[in-house]
Amino acid sequence: MSTVRETIENKDIGLIDILDVILDKGVALKADLVISIAGVDLVYLDLRVLIASVESLVQAKEGNRTINSADFDQQREALIDATGQPNKWQD
């Protein structure tokens, strides 16, 4: 029988879990000549933005995020309907 440890150890760790740790934690050994990427703290604080970009990256890879003009027209009409504005784009 496998131990609880073995079951957990073999689970995949998500990108967010990794970024949360490696961007924020770990030793920062600073010296005069070290390049330290202080800017990554910004990324950490704005984890939501980061996730949005991960999502769009995944979607882009799936290749189903292209909007065709028919979809666009349909959405425009729905918006015009919903807002009750006169249709400026009458063709």
Binding site: T3, R5, L23, G26, L29, V34, I37, V40, L47, V54
Partner: protein, 268 residues
């Protein structure tokens, strides 16, 4: 300009004689990872092209190139994890890069005492993460029914005229919400303290919002523990027991590890 030195982690030199150093590809995916020994500390490093990996270029990549960040973050993590399985590792932050070997050597030598104490703290121990989630609706129901203060308030409201009842009920909802939050913290804290029986150190981290977790349940607790290897199994079994006992009341537990000891090796 010479090559830069990317530092993954630091290990005690004495451990390097026990086994041969494995072969791994470095940060650029081409050059090999190797070690540099400075007295009692050995650095796990690789070389990087100074132009391609300049501070500006890396910052730009981190901010604008998610695919790059994903690939390199996984590389850093997987490399440090692999070495953590073999050695006592003080892990470094992502993209800790030195201009040359001398600057790395000076930094290591300046921090030698701190590194020695980090090594002795970490040797034979592992870092584990625990995230606790709660289905608010289930617990709210329970809080609303079993809390005497809420019970009393409800009885008072039922005797008021209809118009007043509406506003008082709104107030009561707010009271239930705050009692719910308190109950969640109280339960999570209790678990945290019970788990401390198995651990050397425990730190509480910030909870993540639903946007980050992508889960329907709220995160109510996020903590990291440094645990002696032999106590990891009973620690995880304890968590499994909580999971079993509390599942029906809407609680979920997610343990992950072993992590390189990122949270227990930092010194400033």
């Amino acid at each position: 300009m010479g090559d830069l030195i990317y530092l993954y982690g630091l290990i005690p030199t004495e451990e390097t004689t026990e086994q041969s150093f494995p072969s791994f590809k470095g940060f650029d995916g081409e050059r090999e990872i190797y070690t540099l020994s400075f007295g009692s500390t050995t650095a796990i490093v690789c070389q990087l092209n100074a132009e391609e990996y300049s501070e500006e270029n890396i910052k730009e990549k981190i901010n604008d190139d998610m695919e790059w960040l994903q690939e390199k973050a996984f590389h850093h993590h997987e490399t440090v994890v692999a070495f953590s399985k073999m050695y006592t590792v003080v892990p470094l932050k992502f993209c800790t890069i030195y201009k040359n070997e001398e600057s790395l050597m000076n930094t290591v030598q300046t921090n030698q005492d701190k590194l020695n104490s980090a090594f002795s703290l970490l040797a034979g121990n592992e870092e584990w993460n625990l995230k606790i989630y709660c289905d608010d609706s289930l617990l709210k129901d329970q809080v609303s029914k079993s809390n005497p203060a809420i019970e009393e308030k409800r009885a008072q409201i039922s005797e008021l005229p209809k118009g007043r009842q509406f506003f008082e009920k709104k107030k009561l909802d707010k009271l239930i919400d705050s009692e719910l939050e308190e109950e969640k913290t109280r339960i999570s804290e209790k678990i945290h303290f019970q788990l401390k029986e198995f651990v050397l150190q425990g730190n509480v981290k910030r909870n993540w919002s639903k946007d980050v977790t992508g889960k329907d349940e709220n995160m109510t607790w996020n903590s990291v523990y440094l645990i002696p290897k032999s106590d990891v199994e009973p620690f995880l079994e304890k968590i499994q027991q909580y999971e079993k006992d509390m599942k029906e009341t809407g609680w979920q537990f997610a343990a992950s590890g072993p992590w390189p000891a990122y949270h227990f090796s930092s010194f400033s």
